[in-house]
């Protein structure tokens, strides 16, 4: 079975090295990987120069490993719209295929407006960090209800809500009716039942396999898909065909 990992990170300091990540991913039969950038390399609030540094790293990696690595443009909505707009266009021209947002600004904030309009205009998917945390360390961090709010504002933008296990049952219900929102399977330990629940309430067509490697192990993260009590056809959608359709169309 072909596998696309739609959520990995490669560090600026190359530790672990990209070669070791690619090597181990191949060992786990993962064909293609989407790198989202070293998004926490400079903390929650990177400067524009730091954003460029992270994106240049991603661009360099996808050029070194064409056909194996794909990348997203990392942004912080706290930066001026002019910078964001230019950075999106620069990254798209360089081959990046989507936008990654982390936790510098809550996604209900108006500062996301121009960014989302640009994403819409360029037909770029947006992958947004999300988590229902018992205690938020960073008050700007978005939860699934925030993602749902954003998705309702921009129904023509494909949004991938990160971290299925971490958003839980409530998170699945938050986005259930918003057909432009997908969820990736990354986040936390591989708690049982999460995949089955998401398949039941969202459908397998809206779930993408993501590992969150290098923080996580491809093996354990694949185990939650292979070990789930769902059909082989649904596993294939989650591991490959959904990401192929949404992120890597021919």
């Amino acid at each position: 079975m072909n596998i696309i990992d739609s959520h990995i990170h490669a560090r600026l300091n190359d530790n672990p090295s990209i070669e070791s990540i690619l090597d181990f991913s191949q060992h786990c039969h993962i064909d293609r990987l989407v790198i989202l950038g070293d998004v926490l390399a400079f903390g929650f609030f990177p400067s524009p120069d730091q954003i460029k540094q992270i994106n240049n790293h991603s661009i360099d990696l996808i050029k070194r490993y064409p056909g194996r690595l794909y990348g997203f443009c990392f942004l912080s909505p706290e930066h001026p719209p002019v910078f964001i707009d230019e950075e999106i266009k620069r990254c798209k021209k360089a081959g990046l295929i989507g936008i990654k947002l982390e936790a510098s600004v809550n996604c209900r904030d108006d500062r996301l407006t121009s960014l989302m309009q640009t994403a819409s205009g360029l037909n770029l998917p947006v992958l947004h960090h999300s988590w229902y945390k018992t205690e938020k360390i960073n008050p700007a961090e978005s939860d699934p209800a925030d993602i749902a709010y954003l998705a309702a504002r921009f129904p023509d933008v494909t949004i991938i809500m990160a971290h299925l296990t971490a958003v839980g049952i409530r998170g699945v219900f938050d986005i259930q009716k918003l057909k432009n929102v997908y969820v990736d399977t990354s986040g936390a330990q591989p708690f049982s039942g999460a995949i089955e629940f998401a398949v039941d309430y969202l459908g397998a067509d809206r779930i993408l396999y993501g590992s969150d490697a290098h923080y996580r192990d491809f093996t354990a993260q694949l185990g939650r898909i292979y070990g789930a009590k769902i059909t082989d056809a649904d596993k294939e959608k989650i591991l490959y065909s959904n990401a192929k359709r949404i992120l890597l169309p021919d």
């Binding site: 672990p16 070791s20 990540i21 181990f24 060992h27 786990c28 988590w131 229902y132 945390k133 018992t134 205690e135 296990t165 971490a166 839980g168 936390a188 330990q189 591989p190 708690f191 049982s192 039942g193 490697a213 290098h214 923080y215 996580r216 192990d217 491809f218 093996t219 354990a220 993260q221 694949l222 185990g223 939650r224 292979y226 070990g227 789930a228 009590k229």
Partner: protein, 252 residues
């Protein structure tokens, strides 16, 4: 390859729906994942001090060679020694949840429990957490057991084997580096090629296969083991040999 899973539970947990709730279904599921033998604990004993949960599971395991019964003990609860003694002979260890049962690892109750275990040459199993602290119910927040507290206990009783379950990878590294009588399971450990990474700095002699089934997908642990880049010898030690030594399973 034979796999002994040292971290399996059965029962109800109010915060998660499990795929199976009886020992027969659990046995079938573990067979399908290649687990030959499982050290099993009653989930309800974490939150409910009624001894019936240990007693019922003990009774069920006596008729099933797939499972090794592991009682949960709260040493702050009067009469624990008498209740534990009812499981002799055949007792293979004792599991504690210090942070759920709110006793300190430096307490006199722990000293008494360790004396009990030492007399029988049995391991003390410390479950450091049940779930991810970031996702706990807001009114049911329980922190993980501190590495420092376990290290202190282990160094106070260097002849006592202590097995730590559900430690994060950084915690495993600290625990195993700090004390030679501490062992750890792999259920909560994660990094790129988890076991290959751990094997660079730690001896696999003190790692054990544990899946934290049914809380986690068993397959995540078996894939972690089977796809890791470690030698066959190391893999066997983690998969079953270390567990066999610690729990004296060859006597079964």
């Amino acid at each position: 390859m034979k796999i002994v899973d040292v971290n399996v539970s059965i029962g109800n947990w109010p915060f998660q729906r499990f795929p199976y709730y009886d020992l027969q279904a659990l046995s079938t599921a573990l067979d399908a994942e290649g687990v030959s033998l499982a050290v099993v604990t009653a989930v309800e004993a974490i939150l409910n001090s009624d001894p019936c949960y240990n007693q019922n599971l003990h009774k069920q395991c006596q008729n099933d060679r797939k499972f090794v019964f592991l009682p949960v003990v709260d040493p702050s609860m009067p009469g624990w020694e008498e209740r534990l003694s009812a499981f002799l002979p055949g007792l293979r260890g004792v599991k504690i949840f210090p942070n759920y049962h709110t006793f300190a690892l430096g307490s006199s109750q722990i000293r008494d429990l360790i004396l009990f275990l030492k007399a029988l040459t049995l391991p003390l199993i410390i479950q450091m957490r049940v779930d991810d602290e970031r996702n706990q119910h807001p009114h049911m927040r329980v922190a993980g057991v501190a590495v420092e507290d376990i290290t202190q206990l282990a160094n106070l009783y260097p002849d006592q084997v202590i097995v730590c379950l559900n430690a994060y990878i950084q915690e495993v590294e600290q625990l195993l580096q700090n004390s030679e009588n501490i062992y750890a399971d792999i259920s909560f450990c994660e990094h790129m090629d988890t076991l290959g990474t751990l094997n660079k700095t730690l001896a696999a002699e003190r790692l054990l296969f544990g899946s934290h089934t049914p809380f986690l997908y068993t397959r995540s642990a078996t894939m972690k083991l089977n796809l890791s880049r470690i030698s066959k010898e190391m893999r066997q030690k983690i998969a079953w040999k270390n567990a066999e030594d610690i729990f004296r399973l060859e006597e079964l």
